[in-house]
Amino acid sequence: MIAWYEANVVLIQSMFISLLLALSIQVPFRAGVFSLAGIGSYGIGAYTAAIVTLQLGWPPFAAIGAGMLLAAVIAYLLALVLARLSGLYLGMATIAYSLILSVAVINGGELTGGAQGLFGAVSDLQTGHVVAVAVAAVVLLALSERGRPGRWIDAVREDPELAVSVGVPVTAIRQLSFVVGGLLGACAGAMNTLLRTTVTPEEVGFHLVVLALTMIIVGGSRSWAGALIGAVVFTWLPTVLAFVGEWQTLVYGVVVAVAAIFVPTGILGLAQDFVRRLRRPALPGGRP
C-alpha cells in the first residue's frame, strides 16, 4: 500500500486537483449556469500563487488564498457582465475569457515569464494538505445539496421563472455559483503550481476546458459525486490505457463521444438508476 502510494503520488495529487477543477465547473452547472470560467480562474490561481511565492516569498496557504481572492473578485465581475447570457452563448463567452487569459500570460513579459512560464515556485505544500482542502470542499458542497439550499439550486436550474415567482433569489444564486466556481478553480490552479513548482501558458489552454467538461459529462453533472467519478476516471484512464500505446487519444475520444451520446446523466446517473432498480422489488406491495 505504501509502495503503491509512493509510486503513484503524482497521480494521486493530480486526481484531487482534477476533482477541484471539475467541481469548479460542476457548481455553476448545478445552478443551470453553463459557465466554463473555472478554467480561467484556474489560470489566475496558478499564476497568482507562482508570482507571490517567487517575488514576495509568501507561505503556500497565503499564496493559494491570494489566488482564490483575486479569482473570486474577477468571477463576480464576470457574473455581472455576463448576466444577460445563458446556454451555449454563456459557455462560449466564458471559454473566450479563459483563452484570452492564456494569450495574456504569454504576452505578460517579466511578470508571467512569457511563453516559458514561471519556474522555481518552491513551497512546503504537502499531498495531505491538498487532500484535506479537497475533502473540505466536497463536504461543504455536499451540504449545499441538502435541505433548502439544495432545493433552491435545483429550482434555479429546472425552472428559473417559477423560482423567481416563489421568492428564490435566482440572480444571487447564479452570481454565487460564479464566485464559488472561481474559488474552486483558483484553489486547484494554485495548488497545482505549488506542487509542481512551475506554471506554463500551455497548461491553461483549450485542452483544460475539454478535460473539465468531459470529467463532468462522463461522471455526471448533478452532484459532487459525479465530479469525483469523473476525476478518478480521467486521472487513471491513461494508466489503464497504456497498453493501447499511441492510440490512447483515439480511445479517449471514443469514450467521451459514447458517454455523451448514450449516457447523458453520466456514470453517476447510471449508478443511481441501477440502485433504484435493485430497490424497487423490495417496496411493500411490489408495485412497479
Partner: protein
Amino acid sequence: MAQNLLNALTLGSLYLLFALGMSLAWGTIGILNFAHGSIFMFAAFTGHLLVGQVALPLPLVLLIGTAVGAALSVLAQVLAFEPIQRRARDHRRAELQILVGGIGIATIPLAIAQHATKSVPFGFTGSTFQVEVYRLGPVQLTNVQLVILGAAAVLTGVLAWWLRSARTGLALRSIGVDAEVATMMGVNRRGLAVATMAVAGALAGIAGVLLTYYLGSIAAESGDGFLIKAFAAIVLGGIGSIGGAVAGAMILALAETVVLTQTSGMWVDAVSFGLIFAVLVLRPRGLFGRKEVRRT
C-alpha cells in the same frame, strides 16, 4: 497595404467557407458541431494520401475533399447528433451533449491523422497543380487565391439564394424558427438535417483542401484553431445568417491582419477570443442575428 488587404480577403474567404456550414447547422437544426475542424482537416488529409499515390489535378482533389467532408459530417450526424437530439429531455441538455459529443468525435480523425503523419505538416506535393503568380501593379496574386476568392463568392451566393428562394431552403429555415410547427407543416426534419450536415461538411472539406493549397501544407492540429476563429466569425455576424457570416469572417480576417502587421508580440490569437467575448457582452445576437427572448 493593398497586398495586406488582398491577403486578408483571402484569409476571410477561407474563414467564410469554413464558418458557413457551421453557422447554417447551428442556426437551423441547432447543432453546433465541434468536430467541424477535424472534418476540415481530415478532408485535406485524405487528399494528401491520394495525391501521394496518383498525381491528381486541383479540381479532383477538391472533389475528393468535398466528398470526404460531406461523408464524415453525415456520419457524425447519423451516429451521434441525431440520437442525442432524439433522446435528450430538453433543448439545453441536448446542446451540451452535442458540444461534448462533438469534442469526442473530433479526437478520432485527429488521432488517426497524427498517427499517420507523426504530427509532421502535410501538403499536396504530388498534385499536378502549379502555383502561378500574377503581378498587378503593386500586388501579387496567385491562382490559388483566385480559386479561393471565386469559390467563396460562388458558394456563398448559391447558399444564400437556396435559403431565401428554394422550397427546401425555406423549409430548413422554418425548422430554425420552430421545429415542431415545421414538422406539423410536413417538413422532413430528419432528411433536411442530414442534408444540412452534408452541405456543412462539404464546405469544410473545400476549405480544408484550399487552405492546404494556399499555405503549401497544414498540420493535423490546424482544425482546432480554425474552429475557434469560425466561431468568432459566426457569433460576430449572427448565428444562421449568411450575410452575418460574410461580415464576421471578413472583419475577423481584417482585424487579425491589422494586429499581425501593426503590433509586436503574439496577440493575434486574442483577436478572435476578444471578439467573441465583446460581441456576446455588447450585442449577443451579433450584427445580423435574430433577437432572443429571455425572462430571467
